[in-house]
Symmetry: C2
Subunit: 494 residues, 2 copies
């Protein structure tokens, strides 16, 4: 017999590991947010081969401090303001721990009834908490499922849309070159990637123009649909975004939804980051028009206190989804599936196997309650709004886009913003100013005391400060703002 | 502020959770392997809505025993012989725990350098342990990456193959209806599903005939390729299997590889289950011919002591894979990526975000060492071979397929096997005998003391006993065999 870890050993090392994590969290604020490592430096600290005989676990534990922590960007650090947050929390970690311990593979209802049913129930709870349309519930025609990511949710939505557009022929005949997909220029790259994976081809993805608030223009969508139809193309899918990645713009769902209905096109809503905001009634304006959607997703692993990976994906008509994705070989046949009374989540996703991911979501919802979730969102929004006030109060800076949630986009103004010089000088000035903003970001991040990322909107380089880590308080945003101002002082000084 | 779990609370509840898991493992043998629950029964034990205010964690813990355990199929049970094993182990669970605690999102090298580099190193280690061809190493032209599942690995391989077949046009133009995919009739359904997802269409997947050992016939593959070429189709991908799902047949890679080379077709090897066996030199015959492969995958989450999800996927030419999958928006640009010196694993997979899954694999390899891994495989193989001897010694039963690894396929013989009656009677008899085998399986599983699944090979209903859970010992297989014999006695008696 191999030397398996005994339950006693597991107890001992498990306690040590839990304590290690608790200490890591307690100490996080003292660590640099991002590491100062060069490519290959972490790898160089590891042996070239796996050990021939098993090692003592204390050596493994020691390597967490020697190899891992110093080589890590600390996403849970209170001064991590990059990208969008990737939340986790105590109850989420413990839910994942139980899931790992059970080691259940819930591909079918019968291979883990509790794994399936808890997932169904918890996604119904979540649909309630976000006030999603009734038809998304499992008790109606739809239902929710956990995907690993919003990217995979977009892929699954794309496949269901192709199945519908092809009248069933897509499964057997494959993709037709006439199919087209529509999303805005501000949509996440995963929409384009999903279309590529589905065989649609990048050039059949229409990136629809946005308005001055970076939201999709319904008239431009309609024009694109008409142009394609006139050329004999078959519009298969529209993806609208609630909370775009660059600036958290909200596409106008009511108008887009009407158009999709008129043209008979599947409407998928990507609310990867901002969906979590819908737990707060005062932020539900962002979800107006959701009743038009055929599918919807958001990432509890971004801003709802649940560790990666946990994307919540709903469809209005589960039968369509299952028809698109099911393949049933003999070795997976079983009485429960044949009864038609159960959900087999393998038919709702790309992979076959699946972990019991609902546990962490269940633990989070029970630990925080609806109240706690709302507090978390509200605290992030309040801190971001405060940050925006500080930016507005410093005339060297400007706000680059509306900021309804917990992300603020801002930049150093063009130094010659008041200058009236000609077009080519303007673009030189713009380049200089973009370079100044890029340098500002580099300097702030190099302090290791805060981490922000950037984007481009309207062609211009813009800094993004995304609030949302559970440990972030206003003082951390204030600290980041001080660093930013100091870096701007330095840049001014030359 | 929301009431986050404090580090002290996390310590307390974390220790309780670790203890709960240790107790669960200690007690597993006393639980029924599969639960006696009806659809909806678990859901009925849960409230209809999420709580408004946070609950005490002791209530959550109590629900593990009240709701989860009795609703679970226990994949880690020593008498779980269904499907293929879904291993986990103490070190794997602890690796997952650290990963959850760090809460890092390693989509880019820069968002978690250690997450990326540990993954690269550990997959190089694993390539060594399995003695994979040199070009699969990151130190050569290839490299490994963790996918969630063999299904996703097959999808990624399909996409890279399409990219190659299309000479780059696939990305922009999409799939062409001429592309065809080849795999055997015994291949896993995920190959067909991957082709469907990629827009190839079920009817462009050729299921190549197998020989009497259920391995792909190279002459049939060649004939299929020739027929398609003659009709102007473009063969894009061949998927060969090491260890098919139904019977663990091994496709003849040397011959298949030669053909793929001759026809210029991407060769992907799916060794989801049996790949783990290659840690043992005496089982490496199964991997002969691997040097022809463009990509290869196996699931440490099946038979190599690492919890789901952990599929190890390698490509011989990483540049091709990245070209196929990359989409680079501004908000993901960063200095490290631009330097070209790092791996960004987001371009090696379907989703964008990723967990630090390499930790659990790293922990497992260090805890067990190469030696421990080999012992685990050998113990599974030995137990299965012993089981096959018992089956052979009982004349009521027959072995249904070769069993080189840890799966044994067997069945009750046709009661009239010696009878010389005509064809229609034969098929009636076959139906009766299939029904008897089905009933036998039902009775064995209904005891709750063992769990097996079934398949069909050569059109006949066959029972599968897959050994491989870390806790399984010979006495558990012996117990299952007693149950099977007793059920056969009962069937004989009436
Ligand atoms: C709007 C939007 N959609 C999709 C995604 C992709 O998220 P995931 O990593 O869950 O695929 C993101 C990530 O930031 C996003 O902002
Ligand atoms: C040969 C083979 N390939 C692929 C798979 C799919 O595995 P996964 O759940 O990792 O996608 C299986 C599962 O049993 C398998 O046996």
């Amino acid at each position: 017999m191999a030397a398996h870890m005994t339950p006693e050993e597991f107890r001992r090392y498990g306690h040590e590991m839990v304590d290690w994590i608790a200490r890591y969290w307690e100490n996080l604020e003292n660590l640099p947010v991002t590491p100062d490592v060069r490519p290959g430096e972490v790898a160089a600290r590891l042996p070239e081969q796996a050990p021939e005989t098993g090692e003592d676990f204390t050596a493994v534990l020691a390597d967490l401090d020697r190899v891992i922590t110093p080589g890590m960007a600390h996403w849970q650090h209170p001064a991590f303001f990059g990208y969008f947050p990737a939340n986790t929390s105590g109850p989420s970690v413990l839910g994942d721990l139980v899931s790992a311990g059970l080691g259940v593979q819930g591909m079918l209802w019968s291979t883990g009834p509790a794994a399936t049913e808890v997932e169904t129930v918890v996604l119904d709870w979540l649909a309630d908490l976000l006030d999603l349309p009734k038809r998304f519930r499992s008790t109606s025609s739809g239902g929710g499922v956990i995907q690993d990511s919003a990217s995979s949710a977009a892929l699954v939505a794309t496949l269901a849309a192709l199945h519908r557009a092809g009248g069933g022929a897509w499964r057997t005949e494959g993709v037709r070159r006439e199919y087209t997909v529509y999303t805005s220029t501000q949509a996440h790259s995963s929409i384009e990637k999903a279309a590529r994976i589905a065989g649609i081809g990048d050039r059949n993805v229409r990136l629809v123009e946005v308005d001055e608030a970076y939201a999709m223009r319904p008239d431009a969508l309609r024009a694109a649909l008409d142009a394609d139809r006139a050329e004999g193309r078959i519009p298969a899918l529209v993806v609208a975004t609630i909370g775009t990645t660059s600036t958290t713009a909200v596409d106008p769902l009511p108008e887009i939804g009407e158009i999709c209905r008129e043209y008979g096109v599947w409407l998928h809503i990507d609310a990867a980051y901002a969906g979590a905001a819908a737990v707060c009634p005062e932020l539900r304006w962002s979800h107006a028009g959701l009743e038009y959607a055929d599918s919807y997703c958001f990432d509890p692993h971004k801003w709802l206190l649940t560790g990666f990976d946990c994307d919540a994906f709903w469809v209005a008509d589960r039968a369509e989804l299952v028809q698109a994705l099911t393949v049933l070989p003999e070795y997976l046949r079983n009485a429960a599936t044949e009864s038609g009374e159960v959900i087999d989540y393998r038919d709702w996703q790309v992979p076959l196997g699946r972990r019991f991911r609902a546990l962490k979501l269940w633990f989070v919802l029970r630990w925080y309650g609806a109240e706690g979730l709302r507090e978390h969102i509200r605290s992030g929004v309040a801190t971001a709004q405060r940050f925006a006030e500080w930016v507005r109060a410093d005339e060297r800076f400007e706000i680059a886009a509306p900021h309804p949630f917990s992300l603020v986009c801002f930049r150093l103004r063009d130094s010659n913003a008041s200058d009236d010089s000609g077009a080519s000088d303007d673009s030189d000035a713009a380049n200089d100013s973009d370079a100044a903003n890029e340098e500002l970001l580099r300097r702030v991040n190099a302090t290791g005391q805060a981490f922000l990322t950037h984007t481009r909107v309207g062609g211009r380089y813009v800094l993004r400060l995304a609030v949302g880590a559970p440990s972030t308080q206003e003082r951390h945003a204030a600290g980041a703002w001080k660093l930013i101002q100091a870096a701007a002082d330095d840049l001014d000084a030359g």
